[in-house]
Subunit: 360 residues, 2 copies
DNA sequence: AGTATCTTTGTGCGCGTACACAACTCCGTT
DNA sequence: AACGGAGTTGTGTACGCGCACAAAGATACT
């Protein structure tokens, strides 16, 4: 009786099943041309020995090129989307020895037809996998259906669409994060119980569903714990210029001097933080927002924003691409729903968070 | 002129430098037996083409076995150390195709000679790398000196020792985390300004330096922002039984009814949380502690502990082993000081954090 | 010139897997 | 008995690299 090596190889399986490595290979990859008898014998031994192929030898031998496409809204540097993109780029680098490439495509987040045409472009590239954020829920389903027909796996980042069947999803549980935001904001309240929700939209059209969900979670918390607390709303249109915004905020604070707490559910909290600094109001006002844009981080450091909630966009992008590799190249099972932690950042714990985000 | 393939290989370098692959290999590994002329020519081309070896082919070919040792204090399941160990185990699995093994050794955290003898055992195994937590600062230096003489790289987790030169360190900036803890605790204060620091030691001997550093950071914050706030201290010995502990706490709360805030700097906050539940005091008292032990998490869920500060022990362990692999096997540069984020957990954001910690 | 020694360079095999292709078996047909 | 074809099975080469060993060139000494 030969003893088995520490790490089982295909030829060990072959020897035990009394077939050649070619047959084992065919069984492993589910290819035809194997008799029922051999297939069963090989499968039995594979299971018995709990065989796992050496993924590095495997990748080396297959030598196939994998092309992934990543579709994100058009964005400026240091935005939330930018961080996701950085994560995807890093993953591309990490897995470069597997011959993967990640092609970036961008669309106008306020234009359905733009998403559509970028989606077409993506399909034309005949990718092995796609990663994108389903910010456009209606058009998304047309796109995912096409992907499913072509058997191209796709990964959602940031948000998800219930009707679709992605390989995986990476993002925050937005409602719970809004709930948590409410908790943290009211911790700052003391007796001053009145809150303003700053909205930042384009003609009333919200940037994403996530923002909406956050607000629902927030209002749920408020209804549960601070029913008497008055919640004001203030809409700022992204197309307004600075003077108009300042005027709007001045008017609001003149007519509502009792409001000492503010919250935003998108990543534009710096608009309000910078206003507070300009009017020198930050001492008496507490502001909570989302995402670690540079301008938001500056506000946090200066004290014009008290808390930021983060959601590890870098890792969303990194893990998204990583998951495609794991599933397609290494043929591993992957977890489908992956909620990112709801991270609370203040001036006091910010630095070490940023530090941990940028490295791999 | 031949065009270059997308991915540069050794033989491409060899062809361009007009030498054989053997010579390129010698240059890459800094081995002797190469003329100055050849070496320079090869190095020039390596740099020009920015050559990076295919690490998977490399690992496959070398086929060397790497043995790592991980030394941690003796601990029960679901403790902080346990999570580090889990991370190390996971890394062992992730990198199993590189033929690595991680041997776990445990020592009594209150016994210097135990650390010493375990250290000897580790050296006897002639490991390729060591990961441990320098909880015993004095004996650590003897051990690290020996490691350095034998040219065995080592990684610190949890805490570090200034005089040593580890390959890398993964842990929290303890002072800053104490500072942050102060900030968050005082957020819960409102007008009731009196705090008790619960200590949990063994005959006055603190478990680790990290705890001490946290308390320093905390007191620094208090001195900066709440100078008038009275800070009481209460020492509980780990060897006391439950009745004695309850008696001690009863006495304290009887004589100091005005104290409504408590903090601990080790991971034993559940001792106090469970007391609060037992005495039904949790509504009127806010408690902050460290680390996500099961019992602590239960307290958080029940509301007997308000906040926990976490430091991703799983990733400390995972990254520690990963770093050894990267440096030794893949010959990559690694970052030496890696501060873990200072994570704030409450009942509202706990679940998604736990979710993200357990998976890889 | 011949030989020994040292330095430098080139070659070949193996790591574990994937895949193309060759080879063999079995069975029915001519 | 010879042949063809489908269904199976085995074999050889390649992937990119590391390393042992062979080969060739250089130098010094007899």
């Amino acid at each position: 009786m030969d003893k088995l090596p520490e790490r089982i190889r295909i030829k060990d399986i072959a020897r035990l099943a009394e077939v050649s490595v070619g047959t084992v290979d065919r069984v492993l990859h589910g290819r035809p041309g194997v008799s029922k008898n051999s297939r069963e014998r090989v499968e039995k031994i594979l299971k018995e020995l709990d065989y796992h192929p050496n993924m590095y030898a495997s990748a080396l031998a297959s030598n196939k090129k994998y092309n992934f496409v990543c579709m994100l809204p058009l964005h400026s540097t240091r935005s939330y989307w930018h961080d996701i993109e950085q994560g995807a780029r890093k993953a591309e680098l990490s897995y470069s020895d597997f011959h993967i490439s990640v092609e970036m495509l961008h669309y106008d987040p306020y234009d359905f037809s733009s998403f559509e045409s970028v989606g077409k472009k993506a399909l034309d590239m005949n990718p092995d996998g796609v990663m994108f954020s389903p910010t456009m829920s209606r058009t998304t389903l047309v796109f995912t259906k096409e992907l499913e027909e072509r058997k191209i796996p796709y990964v959602f980042v940031d948000s998800q669409v219930k009707e679709a069947s992605p390989l995986a999803f990476f993002g925050q549980q937005a409602m719970q994060s809004g709930y948590f935001a409410g908790r943290m904001l009211m911790l700052l309240a003391h007796e001053k119980e009145a809150v303003v929700v700053f909205r930042h939209s384009r003609g009333g059209q919200m940037g994403s569903n996530q923002q909406h969900e956050r607000e629902i979670g927030f209002r749920y918390y408020m209804n549960e714990h601070h029913k008497t607390c008055k919640i004001w709303e203030l809409d700022v249109d992204v197309r307004q210029n600075q003077e108009e915004t300042i005027q709007l905020l001045d008017d609001f604070f003149t007519s509502h001097p009792e409001v000492k707490l503010g919250i935003t559910f998108n990543s534009q909290v710096h608009v309000f933080g910078e206003y507070l600094e300009y009017r020198n109001k930050s001492k008496a006002f507490n502001l909570l927002g989302y995402d670690l844009l540079d301008r938001n981080v500056n506000c946090l450091r200066k004290g014009t924003v008290t808390f930021l909630i983060a959601q590890q966009p870098f890792f969303q992008g990194y893990n998204g691409i990583q998951t495609l590799c794991k599933s397609l190249i290494l043929r591993k099972e992957v977890k489908q729903v992956n909620y990112m932690p709801i991270d609370l950042l203040s001036a006091e714990n910010l630095d070490y968070y940023l530090d941990s985000q940028e490295s791999e």
